[in-house]
Structure formats: C-alpha cells, structure tokens
C-alpha cells in the first residue's frame, strides 16, 4: 500500500529536537514502503498548497503527517486531503511536537520515540476505511414546550424566520410566571405590559399563522431523532371554542359553583367557568371539570352556554381530550421551574397559620387583577402594620436546596419598595441568610430598602433557628435564636426556585439526564446552556437553572439560534462519520450496549434479536464497543483492529 509520510519541522520547533533525516533512515531500514517528505510549516498557506499539490500528484492510498497535535491541525490536513481528492479519513496524524519534541530532553530518546510513533501510525493507517459524512433530511418545524418568557421568545424568533412552530402550554394561559406579577424587578415594569407585545405576536401577530398554540396541553411521547422527531401531544378539553369565543365573560355570572383559584394561590374563589385571572391570554375562559356540576354531579346544567352571546355551541361540555401528532425537527424545552414547598418547614407556619404566605401569593396580592385587587391585607381584611419577609426558604441549605436561587432577594426588596408605596407606615422586616443581588441593576432595590427607615434587617444562621407563631394579641411572633422576636401581621416566605415537577417526567421520557439538583442537564453549563446533551433538543429558561426573565429570554433566543443554524430549512444536516455500528451476525442480543449508550442511540430489534445503532444519534464515544462481550460493535475510525495495531506498534 502506497503511503505518503510528511514530516513537518514546524520551523525549528520540531527539528531542533528531532532529526528528520534520522527518522527517514530508520523507516527505510525498517523496510517501510512509504514516501517521506519534509516540510517547514505544513499548516501555513504555502504548506497547505504544497501538500495539496503533492498529494494530488502522488495519489497515495494513505497519508501520515508527523507534526503538531491532531487537536491543532487534524481538520486542517483533512481539509487539504479532501481538496486533493482523497478521503480525509485515510489519514493519521502523529503528534511529535507537543508529545515529543517539546517534552523530551534527550535528543536520542526523542528520535527513538518519533520512529516508534511513526511506525505505529503506518501500521494503523493501512487499516483505515474511507468514511463519508452522513446526510439527513430534516423537518424544519419546531416544538416549543412551555409558553413562559423563554418559550415565547423562542417561538416568535423561529416563526419570524419562517419556521412552523408548535407551542405547547400546560396551563390555560400563556406568559408563565411573570404575567402573574404586577411589577417586575429590577425596573418595576408591569409583567403583563412587558410580555403582552410578545404574547400578541404569538396570538395574532404577523407571523401568528406560523404558530400553532396548544394550551392545556402536554407532551406525551417523543420518538425519532434530530431533524425527524414524531411528537405526540395530549390536549385536555377547554370546553370553550378558542377561535370563536370573544372573551366577554358573560358566562361566568350564571355559573352556580365556585372553588379556590389556583392562579391566586387559593386566596379567592373562581367560578367553574372562568379566566384564570383577568387579562390572561388567550382571553378565553376554561371549564374546570373538578368544579363544574356536569362533571362532578352529572347534572344537565348549561347556564354558561345559555348565557353565551356568540351561540349555543361555543361552550361544549362534550369536548374530549385530543391526541395530536406532529413531525418536528427540533424540540425546545422551556417548561419553567417551580417553587420549594414551604410546608417542609413546620416552624415557619405555612399551611398552619393563615397569615403566612408565599412570595407568589403575596405577588398576586399586589396585583390589580389579583384576589384583593392590589390591596395588601391580612385575612381579616386589614392592612398589616408590620410585614416580615423570610428569605432563603429552602435555598443555601444542604438539607434542602444547596444553591442560591438568585432571584428571591431582588423579589423581596421589590416587595419592600411596593409596600413602602402602598403602606408607608408599615414596618418591613427582612430575615435572611445571605443577600445576593448581582447584576448592574441588582443593587438598586436593596439600597432603597436599606435606606428606608421603616425597613429592618436580621440575619439568621439557619431556618431551624426561626419560629413563627401566633402571639397573645393575635399577631404573628417571629422568634429568632439569640435575638428579640419580631411582631408581624403578615409573614411572607421566599422559597427556593426548584425544578418543575414535569422535569423528571420529561427527562425520563427523553432520556435527557438531570443535573444533581434535578434541572435538565445542559450540553455544557457555561458554553452551551441552551443545548441539551441530546441532538435536536434544546433548553431555555428556568428548566435548566434558576434564572431571571432576562436570562430566560436570552436562552430562548439562543435555542432558536442553534436551531436556525443547525437545522437549516431546505438543507440536509451533515453529521460526523465517527459512529459505531452493530455487526448483526456477531450480536448475541444481550442488550448490554443499550444501557451504556449515553445518547439513546442503541435500540433492540426484537424481531431480528439484535441491537441496532442509529448513526444520527451516535456521537462516536465507543463505550458500547468497549462493553460488547461479543466484540460485535465496530467503532468507525477507532476500531479494535486499529487500536490493537497501535498497541502492538508502540510496544515493538
């Protein structure tokens, strides 16, 4: 076999330590059938030009280049080979700069080591197979799960780029947590006002026809792989036709049954047919089957339907759950996060004492469309004379969530600011473990609270040091170990941001992997936070880590950026050929490989009784090849024969 060996001197970086002539003579005396060419800087423009011409002229069957690290210029030289009309995988690079010339003090040893390494490469390269990149047809449509800030931004950006988007939202309204907030930190913008333009784009903007919004819907199943997912979505019945309902609310009044409104933390009641809250989009009510008498008692009540000015068939109690199937090329997970269950802390009284609230419940209390119309009141309906905010509830605590959620401090200081506006006489107490307010705007609200003579700060060591109880006067006593107790009419707990309940379910269904806190694991937490470890599945917002709105929308945009660059509409995607494959005649069907693959690339064909590797999902790590007891898995470019040849070569 005709092999061409090129020896790059790298100026004098290599030749200072390794004499090319000695190496050449050694290969010759070993009887190696190869050409041997020495060049000064093969990676330079001139070097590449020379290499390309030489390769085109020699037309070798294999190429070995002894130069720098393959991590430096393997792809450069593979490119040159392709330009010269050779398959770029019929090539082996020998790292004689980083691994020999620069680290070997003794010149004789350096030359000896180089000869051994080159001999080894010559043994290996003859076993190389020509490989071609895989190409794959794709569906340009994208499934976005979750219509909070991250999902909304991803959906609009993709739709603007001409992509079909299926936007799936679990709740009856879009906008996520921020639309429940009247004012948002750090600049006290109204949450609805901030998001309404984006939500308007989704519902009736210029690109709205590109977006299929499915509210009250959840992902049920996913099959396939990047570019070719088949997704199954289960949509619960709304019992109201969203396309014909005008959102007038005439149907609420006659409805005879009410129950606690989950969107207001149970602080008020809503009718069985209602908006989750006024101003929620889409402006279409929904029927809660856990309340509506037709479902709870089997009654024939149709008072809501009778009241509808748009016709008798707008509200239809016979609507059924829909199972919807779609083909998509990519999936964006933007399912958001949840808040730590404050009931875990019996000493803080949540669930036991009516005047102890969570931050989200307090947020709704502040909102004009909330249960109190924006009034801050105790359960007696009176404005509180003193409010205590307990920070870090479940955060910074190894027994609960060890991390800082990063948003609760600013939330609490925003509450302080709004309280000072609405109830200037009220005392505000902050009980905290640490104060964390990063970012260029982060300190403003904290400083305002610090400068407010009505605000008091108390540092506690750990949550068990605190106890909230009702005092003799009916007010809440917040006691702290080693400190004087505080009297408060309202106690607000700021819980840790934790993974949403669906994270585990979806993570398991998609085999995505969760980090040690239970959030979706990113491809890389700093470099690639918007990409999951599975090709074609992207992460945006708080499903990956606690985040504020800015970080969430950035991730939504990042996810859409990845999709637009990785899955270009009308183009096939091209994948690296370093994948593994099962040799069916050797496979015993033991399925050990199925379990070791980190990318779900291996499945078992029950009919044939053998495992199969999907080359589009395989990333070429080779761990399956190492695990196979039958030696039935061939890893492209890192085959057992090639590595064995290297072992033999280096130990000659």
């Amino acid at each position: 076999m005709k092999t061409a060996v090129y020896f790059c001197t790298c100026g004098t970086n290599i030749s200072d330590r390794i004499d090319a002539e000695e190496v050449k003579q050694a290969l010759k005396s070993a009887g190696e059938d190869c050409s041997f060419t020495v060049g000064p800087f093969l990676c330079s423009e001139e070097g590449q030009e020379f290499l390309q011409e030489d390769l085109a002229r020699l037309k070798p069957e294999r190429v070995v280049i002894a130069a720098c690290s393959p991590r430096e210029h393997e792809t450069t030289f593979q490119g040159v080979m392709a330009e010269a009309g050779l398959n770029p995988y019929l090539f082996q690079m020998v790292n004689i700069r980083e691994h020999i010339a620069w680290v070997t003090a003794d010149k004789e040893q350096a030359v000896h080591k180089t000869i051994l390494a080159l001999n080894t490469a010559l043994k290996r390269v003859v076993l190389h197979q020509p490989l071609e990149r895989l190409t794959l047809e794709i569906s340009p449509a994208v499934l976005v799960i979750g219509a909070g800030p991250a999902g909304l931004k991803a959906a609009t950006a993709l739709a603007e780029a001409g992509r079909e988007v299926i936007l799936v939202e679990k709740s009856p309204v879009i906008g996520g947590l921020p639309v429940l907030c009247e004012d948002l930190f750090p600049e006290l913008e109204c949450g609805s006002c901030l998001l309404e333009p984006v939500m308007g784009d989704i519902l009736h903007g210029r690109h709205a026809e590109k977006i299929e919004l499915l509210t009250m819907a959840e992902l049920q199943e996913v099959t396939g792989f990047i570019g070719n997912f088949t997704v199954t979505i289960r949509q619960r019945p709304r019992y109201v036709d969203p396309h014909r309902c005008i959102g007038c609310g005439e149907c609420f009044e006659p409805c005879p049954i009410s129950g606690p409104n989950p969107f207001n933390g149970g602080l008020d009641d809503k009718k069985a047919i209602a908006f989750p809250f006024f101003g929620g989009l889409p402006s279409v009510p929904y029927i809660d089957p856990d309340l509506c008498l037709r479902f709870t008692e089997g009654s024939a009540c149709r008072l809501c339907s009778d009241a509808c000015p748009m016709g008798a068939d707008i509200i239809d109690h016979n609507h059924q759950e829909q199972i919807i199937s779609r083909q998509v090329g990519a999936i964006v997970l933007a399912i958001g996060a949840s808040l730590y269950d404050c009931r875990q802390f019996a000493n803080l009284g949540y669930g036991r004492l009516p005047e102890v609230r969570t931050a989200l419940e307090f947020e709704r209390m502040l909102a004009a469309n909330g249960p109190t119309g924006g009034d801050i009141v105790t359960t007696k309906g009176e404005p509180p004379g003193s409010v205590a905010f307990i920070h870090c509830v479940g955060s910074l605590d190894d027994q609960h969530q060890p991390y800082c959620s990063g948003i609760c401090c600013q939330l609490a200081f925003k509450f302080n600011h709004l309280l000072a506006e609405k109830l200037p006489e009220a005392e505000v107490h902050h009980l905290f473990r640490e104060v964390v307010c990063p970012g260029k705007e982060g300190l403003a609200l904290y400083q305002a609270a610090r400068h407010n003579p009505q605000s008091f700060f108390h540092r506690y060591e750990q949550l068990p040091d605190l106890a909230v109880n009702t005092g003799e006067n009916g007010r809440q006593m917040v006691s702290m170990l080693g400190k004087e107790a505080i009297t408060a009419d309202l106690v607000v707990l700021c819980p840790a941001v934790i993974p949403a309940a669906d994270t585990l379910k979806l993570g398991t269904a998609l085999d995505l992997g969760l980090d040690r806190f239970g959030f979706f694991d990113a491809e890389h937490s700093r470099l690639d936070p918007a990409r999951s470890k599975l090709r074609g599945i992207y992460l945006a917002g708080t499903c990956q880590s606690p985040a504020d709105i800015r970080d969430s929308v950035n991730q939504g945009m990042a996810a859409s950026g990845y999709i637009l660059s990785e899955l270009v509409s009308g183009q096939k995607i091209s994948l690296d050929p370093l994948f593994a494959s099962v040799q069916a005649d050797k496979c015993s069907g033991c399925r050990i490989c199925n379990g070791v693959c980190p990318y779900r690339a291996i499945s078992f064909d029950a009919e044939k009784g053998v495992s199969e590797i999907n080359p589009h999902l395989c990333r070429g790590c080779g761990t399956c090849a190492a695990a196979c007891p039958m030696g039935a898995i061939a890893a492209n470019h890192f085959s057992k024969e090639m590595i064995m040849a290297e072992i033999e070569g280096v130990l000659k």
Binding site: N95, G620, A626, V650
Partner: protein
C-alpha cells in the same frame, strides 16, 4: 571489591531498564492535558507512548491485557474529571471497568500499580507530567515485581 562491582552492575542494569508505558488518553481532556504539558514545554521521561481514543469509555479491558501481553510495564488510562466527560459518562464507565480489571490483573500476577486510572483535565499539563513521573519512578522501584 566484589560488592562494589555488584553495586555497579546493579546500577548499570537499573540505568538500562526503561519501563515502557502505554497511555490511553481521551481526546477531549487528557490528550489536551498532555498537549498542554507540551505547549508549556515541561520535560518528562520518554517512557510513555500515547494512544488517543475519543473517550476513555472506549478502552476495552482487552486493550490493557494486550498491552501487558506485548510487554508493557505500565498502562495508564487517563480520563476527564467526573462531570466533565464530553460524552456525559464515559469516564465513569472507564473507572468502573478499571476497578474490575485490577482484580483480573492481580489474578494474573500483575501488580495494581502497573495499571493506573486517573483524571487529567485539558489544563492539567503539570498533573499529567506528575502522573508520568510517578509511574516511571514506581516501575523503576518495583522492577521485576
């Protein structure tokens, strides 16, 4: 006098003994760590020959056995640090396999110290050199064991 000659012979024999080490290095971290030692130009003994694999999870136990069979004095498997694996968990598989492999090697009469598993990140050029030096020293001290 005889004792002196014997001592000298022993020294000569020791100087001539050059342990041969085969290192399986994962492409993304450990191989890059070895490159880092190169760019920092930290000299280390020439006893190591590096075989690059994409992931330490690719290293079949048979590769290690084959290396010993071919006369290797030491085998190194270097992987990314836990949590840093480019392929999520290949380094953990490699660690598990190494633990099992040591038992097999012991049964074959190959000392545990001759087969080392360690983590080297892309910036740990110095750690990489330390590992090589330690292994060479270890093998020199235990020559023939």
């Amino acid at each position: 006098m005889t004792a002196l000659i014997r001592e000298k012979e022993k020294n000569v024999a020791q100087a001539a003994y050059q342990p041969r080490i085969v290192g399986f290095l994962c492409n993304w971290c450990s191989y890059a760590g070895a490159d880092k030692a190169g760019t920092a130009q930290i000299a280390y003994p020439a006893n190591l020959q590096i075989i690059r694999v994409m992931c330490s999870g690719r290293v079949e136990p048979q590769f290690v056995l084959q290396a010993f069979k071919q006369g290797a004095d030491g085998v190194l498997i270097l992987a990314c640090h836990p949590g840093d694996c480019h392929y999520k968990e290949g380094n953990l598989r490699a660690a598990q396999r190494h633990t099992l492999l040591l038992r097999v090697l012991e049964q074959l009469g190959i000392k545990r110290s001759r087969c080392r598993f360690d983590h080297v990140s892309a910036v740990e050029g110095e750690k990489f050199v330390r590992i090589i030096q330690e292994m060479v020293d270890e093998l020199n001290n235990k020559k023939g064991e």
